[in-house]
Symmetry: C3
Subunit: 334 residues, 3 copies
C-alpha cells in the first residue's frame, strides 16, 4: 500500500497531467526503451491490481509484462471471477480494500458495462480515485484511453520528431458496429497538448463531445497548434504528416445501435481507408491505428501492411509507456 | 511438491488446529505485519495453486499478494477456464496431479457449486485433502471460511487486546438473498476458542447448524467463555465490545430461496443495522463485517463509515493472516 | 521479444523437430528433473504468453509452474477475457503484437473453437508461427499435443529404458463423447520416432488420419520399429510393455456427435479397460493415460489405481518437459 497516500496521483486522463509531467513520462519511456536493464526490478515487492470489466489484449498484456520487468507483481482480475465496485459492492469499499493490498490499481470499463450512459464509466473511475489511497490507472473507460494517447504521442515523436506544427488527421472510418469514443477523445486531447495542426475528419453526424472539443481548442491555443474539422476525407488527408485512423459511433445515437446504423451505412465505402487516400498525404506520412482493426472493412490490407503503416511499432510502444507510467507512479519520490 | 508429504497439514477449519497452533499463526501474523521485510522472498521457488469455483475479491487478492511478497508464485485458476475435481475429473486425480506441481492448493467452493447440499463443499475439500500430498487451504467452502476467522480473531486482539471475557455479538442482518453460513459458523468457532462471551443474535428461524453450536459450546467451556442466543437485537447488543454483523440464510430452507424469503422479509427493518443499535454497545466497541456489504440494506452508511467500524482494517488483515498461514505451512520445518 | 528472430523455432508437432533435437529435449528434461536448482531463474526477465481458447488443467498449471521456476513470467489469457487471432482480430495482427511483448507464445485451440473443421486449429497455429517473431508453442490443437507426446516418450524411457523394440499398445477406449484425435496422433508420431513396436488397437471405424498413419509408418521404417493395427483388444494387449489408453472420436463422423454415437455405443463394454485386459500384457507393463479420465467408464479404478498404472508420474513429467522445452527455446544460443 502507499507509503505516503498524500502524494498519490491518478492517471485517468492525460489532460489531468501537466505538460511537464507528460514530458517526463515521455522521457522515461525513451530512456527505458533504450536502457531496459537500468529499470529491471527497480520496483520489486510492489503489486499492481489489474481489473477488467471488459476484454483486453494489448492493454492487459503490455501492462502485465511492463509490471513484471520492473519487478512489480501484476494480478489480473476479470469481472467474471471477481466482485468489484458498483456492481456487487460499493466503489468505496472496493477501492478502500484493494488499496490496502496493492500499490496501484488499473481499471478498464467500457460503455457496455455502464449501459451506454456516456461518461458513467469515467465517473466510476474517478470515484475509485476519490476513495483509493493508491494511484488509479485508466485502462480505458468510456471517455478516455490515456495509456493509448501517451503511446500515440510517443510514437509520433519517435517517428516524426517534434510534433509541433506537424499535421495530423484524426480520421473516422467505417466499422460494422458503433465503437466508443475514448480513443478519438484521447488522441485529440494529447495531440492538441503537443501543438499539432489537427484535422478531425468525419462524416456529418460524427462530431465528438463538445466539451472535449473545447478543451482541445484551448490546448491548441496554448500550445501553438490548430484544430480544423473536415467532412471531406480527401481534403482532410491532404499533406498530412500523420494519419490516425479510428472508427467511433455517433454520439447522438449513443447506445442506440439500430438508429446509429442508419446514419453510418452510407459512409461504408467512402470512409473505408484505401491506399488512394494515403496518396493525398505527405510521402513520408505515418499511418496509425490503436488496433484491433477489421481488415478490409475499416482499412485495406494495403494500408495496414503498407509503407506508411507503423501500427506494430505503435503497439509495441504500449509496453514502454505502460512501464514508464508505472515507474513514475510507484518509484520512491524523495 | 512437498519435500516431506508426511508432515503436510491442511487448513480447512480452524477447529482442526490446536489452540497452540492458532496462537502461533497469530504471532506470525503480528510479526510479519510489523516487520514485512524479514519475510520477503523467504519462500522463493514455491508455488501456490489457487482454485476458485466461485468469484472472489478479498480472498483472491489478499492471498495472491501475500504469496508474492513471500516469493511464492500464485496461479489463479477459475472453474471457467479449467477442469477440476468432481465436475469433469475425479477429485482424486485432480488432487494427486496438482500436488505434483504445487506446494499448496487453495480452493473456494460455494453452496451454489454443490447444488446447495449442505456440507458437500466441505466434504469435497476434505476429499482433496485426503488425496493431496500438499496442504489444502480452504478459500471458503459451504461450511467454513477459516482465513476470515483467523483474520477476525487477529483483528479483535489487535483492537481490543486479549479476547477472553470480552463480549461479542454475532449479529444476523437482513440481506436480499439467503447467504451461506460459512462466515457465521467460522466466527462462532474461533471466538469460542478464545474464551469470548458470545451472544448469537438472530430472528427466530435463523439458528445455526446444531453440530457447530455444540462445538462452540464445548469450546466456550474449555476456554472459559460463554454462548448465549438472543432473538432481541437491542438486548443482544447491550454492552458489547465487538459487534460482528453478518447475514445468513435459514438452514431449514437451505437451497430454497423462495420459501426462505417469506421467513426473512418481516425482519427487513428491524434487522437492518443502524447507528441506534450501536448506542447499546460499549462506547469503545468495534463494528466488524467481512465484506462485501450491501450498504443501507444490511447496515447503514453511518454504521459502516462510523467511529466504531474497523471494516477496512479488518479487510487489510486478510493480507497478513494469509501470509502467516502460507509461511507456516510452507517454510522448511526442522 | 526475440533478440534474434531469425533463430526462432516453433513447437507445433514433434514431427517438425529432428530426432537429435528431441533427444536434446529429453536430455534436458532428465537433467532438470535431477538437478532443479541448476536451472532455477536461468531465464529471469523473459515472459511467456499463454493463450487458451479452451479450458486446461495440466497444460496450464504444469507450464505456468515450469516457467516460474525458470524465472519466466507466465501470463494466462483466456479467450473469455481477451481478443485473439481469427475471432475478433486477424491472426497476423495478434501474432505480430504479442511477439513484441513476449519471448514465446503458447496457444491451445480445440476442435470446438474451429467448428470441428479438422486441422483448422493446427492451420491457425501455423499461421501464428508464420507471423510471430518468437516461438509458438502448441498447447494442444485439433491435430497435435506435442507437449503430451514429449512427456509420454520421456515417461516410457524413464520407466522402461530404451523404447526401441518395446511393444506399445495405443488403445482406443469408450468415452461418452467423441474426443479429439490430437493425443493419439501425437503418441503415434513420437513412439514411431523412437523405434517402438506399435499396435494401434481400436474398433472398426476408428481409424486415425491416413496422413498421420503414413508418417508413422515412415518413422517406423526409419527408426527400426513397426506399426500394426488391431481390432481385437485382447490380441492387441498381448505381451505389451506399454499400454496407452485414450479415447477418440471416429473421423468419418467428425463434428457429428449424433451419428458418431451410433458407431460408438456397441463398444461400450468391450472397450472399457479392465484389469483382465492388462493380464494379457507383460507382467511389468506400464499403463499410461494423459488424463483427465472418466473413471469406471473409460477404464476401471482397478486399472487406473493398479500396479501397472503410472498416470500420476506421467502427469508430473509434464512439468519437466514443459520446463525443458522453454529452456531450450529461450536460453541464449551461442
Amino acid at each position: 500500500m502507499a507509503s505516503n497516500p498524500k502524494k498519490k496521483k491518478d492517471f485517468i486522463s492525460t489532460q489531468d497531467w501537466s505538460r511537464e509531467e507528460l514530458d517526463r513520462l515521455l522521457d522515461i519511456t525513451k530512456d527505458l526503451k533504450t536502457y531496459p536493464e537500468k529499470y529491471r526490478n527497480t520496483l520489486t515487492g510492489k503489486s499492481l491490481c489489474m481489473f477488467f470489466y471488459n476484454p483486453s489484449m494489448r492493454t492487459r498484456n503490455s501492462t502485465e509484462v511492463a509490471a513484471y520487468q520492473l519487478g512489480i507483481h501484476p494480478t489480473f482480475n476479470s469481472i467474471k471471477d471477481s466482485w468489484i465496485g458498483y456492481q456487487s459492492e460499493s466503489v468505496k469499499d472496493t477501492a478502500k480494500v484493494l488499496a490496502r493490498y496493492y500499490d496501484a490499481i488499473g481499471i478498464r470499463i467500457f460503455p457496455v458495462s455502464v449501459n451506454w450512459i456516456y461518461k458513467e464509466g469515467n465517473r466510476i473511475l474517478r470515484e475509485f480515485a476519490d476513495y483509493s489511497d493508491v494511484p488509479i490507472i485508466n485502462f480505458e473507460d468510456d471517455q478516455f484511453h490515456p495509456l493509448q494517447a501517451l503511446t500515440d504521442i510517443y510514437s509520433i515523436k519517435e517517428k516524426k520528431g517534434d510534433p509541433r506544427g506537424k499535421k495530423i488527421v484524426i480520421s473516422w472510418a467505417y466499422h460494422p458496429k458503433p465503437l466508443p469514443v475514448s480513443v478519438p477523445n484521447s488522441i485529440l486531447l494529447i495531440t492538441s497538448r503537443y501543438g499539432m495542426d489537427i484535422t478531425l475528419a468525419h462524416p456529418k453526424g460524427y462530431d465528438l463531445d463538445s466539451d472535449i472539443m473545447n478543451i482541445a481548442r484551448n490546448n491548441a491555443k496554448e500550445f501553438g497548434g490548430s484544430l480544423t474539422i473536415s467532412n471531406d476525407i480527401n481534403e482532410a488527408y491532404s499533406n498530412a504528416d500523420v494519419v490516425y485512423v479510428k472508427s467511433w459511433g455517433a454520439l447522438k445515437y449513443y447506445g442506440n445501435a439500430k438508429d446509429e446504423k442508419q446514419l453510418r451505412m452510407p459512409y461504408r465505402d467512402n470512409w473505408r481507408i484505401r491506399e488512394e487516400n494515403l496518396d493525398f498525404t505527405d510521402s513520408n506520412s505515418i499511418l496509425m491505428h490503436c488496433l484491433p482493426i477489421r481488415r478490409n472493412i475499416v482499412a485495406d490490407d494495403a494500408v495496414i501492411d503498407g509503407k506508411h503503416s507503423i501500427v506494430y511499432d505503435q503497439a509495441e510502444n504500449r509496453l514502454y509507456t505502460a512501464k514508464a507510467l508505472l515507474y513514475d507512479l510507484l518509484r520512491e519520490k524523495e
